[in-house]
Subunit: 220 residues, 4 copies
DNA sequence: TATGAATGAGGCTTCATTCAT
DNA sequence: AATGAATGAAGCCTCATTCAT
């Protein structure tokens, strides 16, 4: 299911408008799953925050797990669509990579709910992700962007040979995801200083720096 | 509660040995909470994997949440005790830091259950960590080790001034934790290549490299 | 919730008839709470005496205490509605008061379950009554009847001035309630003679006599 | 069991002193049963308020019900011992009766815990009182005092013939007990005015008045 | 398309009591 | 005389889900 602003369905009223009902349910579900996890979320709570009834959840999504899988797919879609929209072609490889990395860091920060859903899915051993072709398919293009930049940098002789885009993606993700996913425990122990704007900007700059140091041809 | 190998209590039989009973329960609880999360774990399941009964869980731990908090404290204890035992004093700063970082990466890999419990706690907004002075107290010494190495490196003039040990800790943790916490989704999408021994060693080496690049005085 | 004999809902069958289900549960609950108290009553026992299931108790009443509060409200309603229906306007004050007092005594005798629920509530320090605006609101009208009779008697010069209707109510209630609430211990010690019909009629007559002696203008 | 100040046992220390241990337990039990009822009281709570352990409760009292019966017997003993100590022989019948009634009212007011235990026993249909010969035996002497005053009054020709001491006792008790037992609900609905000192004295005076009006030879 | 009513299965927790020493 | 450890039975309540209309 895609959440679009379908003009036709928008014109019709709230009821008797399946797409609007589905979107309403899904958006509530995402916020509930993100806040409470899969087993921690109550179908009743989702229903009560919805403009429709619990019965409709089952009507449209089959069961709780079906709804969760849609929320998971939505999480992957949103996390990836940002990178896809990024235009890096006009930039030289070094700047393109810097832009991509910085964007990833910021994009994750802006979407904590979806990061949380990904973490929840990890707690569940990625069982549902394995069932969802849709979600799996979404991450590959994201990698494509990074691979393309690497290729360009290597061709231009500014990046060292033998780079592994998957490993690079892993590194960028690690720092971008951790920044959101572990904020609760980290700030409980070490305070919130690192999560204020200035500090976050430094962390982002250092992330870019680290990644560039990793890919660049060492100076002779 | 501390898990000690008390010779005296060990001699006594299984029953009428509170420490052994508590340890038995806690060790099963850790594995269940790590596998299924807080709401996903069944007290009955824990009990059935124990040599004692469900009633004893409540006798010694009060309720499910009380048991979970003990599991959480144990997770922090184990994750930190390794670093504490590390002897870095005989090494020059650069090598000391390299050793500390590499150790952290490996130590996290070896303790996936405890990483999972930390992630679960993040899903729960660190609410229980905030309640547990014990757990909060454990992370500070870990940072001490890192701060000490930084200080030595700066005094020796090999590390750049103005380093923030907390930020460094954040960076090392990010890559070490993500490597475990997000393995399910990451390997579902990109395959398991990155998690085989050789690749893990490369990732660890790159982590060390990245951190050193970050702290070292840039060459003139 | 009001227990009405709604013709429309009566026509429908047993299931899918919320009012009938609620009434069924509440009536069983009253008899169980009256017999066993709040903590002594088992939700399972109530359910098993019902034509519906335990689950419906929670569906309609939230929890055991919610059900108990409804039973309490029903007790106050029944105990008061009798007096409200009493027509005293056509009688001179002395006869009106006599009729009211005698009625109160009999009405309490006829409703031992509700007296018992009130006693149970007293054991619980009236905590639930304090929570229930409904129940608290019911006792005030009852007093109004008594106050009105006093007023008429005083205006006519047959009752002494300065009467306190609340104190009078207290006195009438004391003897009417005690007659029911303490019958078990009293009859265990002193035998059942006082609770046979003839003796009860004498006690009622004496109660009326006592109250009248209290309010009447002493003869010159 | 009687609660006496045995000099010999008092001299011995706290432990190794069965009577002191029993007294400690019983006094806590009375306050817990009075506050929470039979099913509402927890053996653990009693134990924790005691200077000894839960095991001792079972050692000395058999089970929870055994302890409750002792508390019930103590309640009857205390409620009756006051009247027994009253010296009425020097007073003329009218004054003797007035003193007895006023005393009963005050004595009940001063012992709310024991009144509450009696009410609790009524909730339990006096099942335990029926089992306890001790408790049953205690109420009869109390009645003796009242019967004796009646006899004297009738012999002196100041009380009307045909008085029933049991009925009189019932009437005095009703007002004295209700004053304590129903205070929670009554004051929740009608406020606390009636339970302040001045009002209580008026109620007591009216009670004496009512009883005297009932027994006295009507004036010619 | 939509809904309020209904539910079986199973969850967490509490309780009085007994055991082993 | 005294105790900490241990327990079976049963209590209250919640949950995802389906039924009847």
């Amino acid at each position: 299911m895609t959440i679009t602003t379908d003009t036709e369905t928008e014109k019709r009223g709230w009821t008797q408008n399946p797409d609007a009902v589905k979107r309403d349910i899904l958006s509530v579900a995402i916020s509930e799953f993100a806040a409470n996890g899969l087993s921690g979320t109550r179908v009743d709570t989702i229903a009560s925050r919805t403009r429709t009834s619990k019965r409709m959840i089952y009507y449209y999504f089959g069961d709780k797990q079906g709804l969760y899988i849609k929320a998971l797919e939505e999480a992957y879609r949103v996390l990836r669509e940002g990178e896809a929209a990024l235009d890096l072609d006009d930039l030289p490889p070094r700047e393109a990579l810097a832009k991509l990395v910085a964007f990833t860091f910021d994009h994750h920060r802006r979407n904590p709910d979806f990061i949380r859903i990904v973490m929840i899915e990890n707690i569940h051993h990625a069982d549902h992700l394995a069932q969802s072709e849709v979600a799996r398919a979404m991450d590959v293009p994201a990698l494509g962007k990074l691979a393309e930049v690497c290729r360009r940098g290597q061709e231009a002789g500014v990046f060292r040979p033998g780079l592994d885009p998957v490993a690079l993606h892993w590194q960028v993700c690690a720092l971008s995801v951790f920044n959101v996913s572990n904020r609760p425990t980290f700030s409980t122990i070490f305070g919130t200083a690192l999560f204020e704007e200035a500090a976050q900007e430094r962390l982002r700059a250092q992330l870019v720096e680290m990644i560039l140091a990793l890919v660049e041809q060492p100076h002779p």
